[in-house]
């Protein structure tokens, strides 16, 4: 069974801090994704990656960056956290082939004070 693990379930940080959210998958998936989920807005794609050291902007990349140094790990970075980045962050992975479902982690609920 696919396992996508996010490093923290809950996280509280302060405005201006640099924040790292980590995601690891154990199924050798090529694709990895970072979403944020807010009430009434559904899931919005922040960044995604098709391969190691490769990244693509999603729909809302502003204020975020990512790192994919190893195939199994995809990190989301908030360069200087702001209160409007308080949200639920979900990581997902999938195989490279078309028509493959995405497998999600349990999410990190991030609060920026």
């Amino acid at each position: 069974d696919v396992k996508v693990t996010q490093s923290s379930r809950y996280l509280v940080k302060r405005t201006g801090e640099k924040v790292f959210l980590e995601c690891v998958q154990d199924m050798d998936h090529e694709n990895m994704f970072w979403y944020r989920q807010d009430p009434g807005l559904g899931l919005r794609l922040i960044y995604f990656s098709y391969d190691v050291k490769m990244k693509e902007k999603g729909d809302i990349p502003e204020g975020y960056s990512v790192s994919r140094e190893k195939k199994e790990r995809f990190s989301l970075i908030l360069e200087s956290a702001s209160t409007n980045q308080t949200s639920m962050y979900l990581c997902a992975s999938s195989l490279a082939h078309s028509n493959q479902p995405q497998h999600f982690g349990d999410g990190t609920r991030l609060s920026i004070l």
Partner: protein, 110 residues
């Protein structure tokens, strides 16, 4: 940009009643995936539809893809409290990105 509109946003039903959520697009969809997210949980893949007019069933859940491939629906017959959650439709683009609808949150009163 490309959008998938999903309605209703919320639905409250009495246990045993039926439930339907709809997804619509102004452009032709290449496919539709459906996900369920339980309260406090993460989205879990349910099914994918690819063919025009396709109908698939999973126990009490019936998924349909419109003939013109511009809409899809999920119908639950005789809801149970275990059906509570948010149901998302999403289109998988040829680049591997998922374009999600806003989701329908289902509450079931026992």
């Amino acid at each position: 940009g490309q959008q998938v509109m999903q309605i209703p946003q919320y639905q409250h039903v009495q246990e045993g009643e039926d439930f339907t959520t709809y997804c619509n697009s102004s452009t032709t969809l290449s496919n539709i995936q459906w996900y369920k997210q339980r309260p406090g949980g993460h989205p879990v893949f349910l099914i994918q539809l690819v063919k025009s007019g396709e109908v698939k069933k999973q126990k009490r859940l019936t998924f349909q893809f419109g003939e013109a491939k511009k809409n899809s629906s999920l119908h639950i017959t005789a809801t149970q409290t275990t059906d509570v959650g948010t149901y998302f439709c999403a289109e998988l683009s040829n680049t591997g990105k998922l374009i999600f609808g806003q989701g329908t949150t289902l509450q079931v009163k026992p």
